[in-house]
């Protein structure tokens, strides 16, 4: 009789973990944007005007870095936290 209750509790714990992970990921993504905006606005404009080839590579790297790198960081971080909880 207690099995469905255990499953339900396990299910809601998973949803909570998912939501917390999403929130942390969202904060990382937002912080990344602010960091890029603050650190490299003038530099990017200069690259755009003078070195289009470097600008193209940097643009692609910044875009991929924002999601891929931060997702890896978030996933790794939560794997560590989950491990400690267990």
């Amino acid at each position: 009789m207690s099995e469905p209750t255990t499953n339900r509790a396990g299910g809601s714990a998973t949803v909570v973990w998912y939501l917390v992970e999403m929130t942390v990921y969202a904060l990382f993504v937002f912080a990344y944007y602010l960091a890029v905006l603050h650190a490299s606005r003038g530099w990017l404009k200069e690259l755009f005007d003078t070195h289009k080839a470097i600008y193209a590579v940097v643009a692609l790297a910044l875009i991929i870095g924002q999601v891929v790198l931060l997702e890896l960081v978030t996933t790794g971080l939560f794997r560590l936290i989950r491990g400690k909880f267990k």
Binding site: V29, L37, L44, K52, A53, A59, L60, Q66
Partner: protein, 297 residues
């Protein structure tokens, strides 16, 4: 950022980069059309990687089909980008691209609405399901479509080399059919921006006979290639504003994760029917901006 978030959820759900909304929205905010195309391509790359990884874990990506399509997609993207360069030199790029965009969006919305409604109306009987299933009817990867006969006729065309796609439940299809679908998608991507999932996803379902769930995931995999190449070639031509792309992606990256999870709860014709209002909304935004000349930014 709110628009980026909404576009990200929609992109993850429908297997499209969201350019049918992002492109018109950027144009309505006063961004010139050549920057709309290049920037939109840049913002979908990262988000498509997130969504495609998620779809891959759900088993929704046919990697063999995706890799074969690259050979058609990259020349298509370059052809589209060269078209933008030509218009920048010789004509009014804003008006020409906007008009082509409106035509494509309205055509797709009408076509998908007609097909989905017809499938939902006819799709009650077991006999219909047996004769109108794309992909494998014997597994849960199969998907009912009123136009399954078109895909079956294309499968019968014997233009070698013939390719087998077991993951999509396709026993044999000409490589040329795959390359043509990929090339057309690539041209739309390079010329109109985004990953052109609005044309590639329906083409994979209706012409190649790929089940909708697999078409969504495989299209996202393809968008990584077309978006990545398109970003590089458009950035070299001075058509990418990376800071606009990053702010859009900030919302979209999170939305794409949510959207991919939502596909678990919806199925073939339902997903396709829900897609219909979105291209129409994008077309309405473009028509309004072209007629009034009013920009929101």
């Amino acid at each position: 950022m709110g628009a980026g978030f909404v576009i990200g959820v929609l992109g993850g759900f429908f297997g499209v980069g969201g350019s049918f909304l992002a492109g018109p929205a950027l144009f309505a905010f006063g961004v010139p059309m050549n920057f709309v195309v290049g920037t939109d391509l840049a913002h979908i790359v990262g988000k498509s990687i997130v969504a495609a990884r998620r779809h891959s874990r759900l088993g929704n990506v046919d990697f063999k089909l995706g890799l074969l399509m690259i050979a058609g997609t990259i020349p298509g993207v370059e052809a589209g980008a060269q078209g933008i360069q030509y218009l920048k030199r010789h004509a009014n790029v804003d008006q020409v691209v906007a008009l082509v965009f409106i035509f494509v969006l309205i055509s797709i919305a009408i076509f998908v609405a007609w097909e989905s409604l017809r499938t939902l109306q006819l799709g009650k009987g077991a006999r219909f399901k047996k004769t109108h299933t794309v992909g494998s009817a014997n597994t849960n990867r199969g998907d009912v479509s009123a136009l399954a006969g078109v895909a079956r006729r294309i499968h019968l065309l014997q233009f070698p080399p013939m390719i087998s796609l077991p993951r999509s439940g396709i026993r044999e299809v000409s490589l040329w059919a795959i390359l043509i679908v990929a090339f057309v998608g690539g041209v739309c991507s390079g010329f109109l921006g985004g990953g052109a999932g609005y044309i590639r996803m329906p083409a994979m379902v209706y012409l190649l006979g790929v089940p909708t769930h697999l078409a969504v995931g495989t299209d996202l995999f393809e968008v990584i290639i077309s978006g990545g190449y398109g970003t590089l070639t458009h950035a070299l031509k001075g058509n990418v504003d990376i800071l606009i792309a990053l702010v859009m992606q900030t919302g979209a990256a999170i939305g794409a994760k949510l959207g991919a999870s939502l596909t678990t709860y919806f199925h073939g014709p339902g997903i396709r029917l829900a897609f219909v209002p979105l291209p129409l909304l994008g077309a309405a935004l473009l028509i309004y901006t072209l007629i009034t000349g009013h920009h929101f930014g």
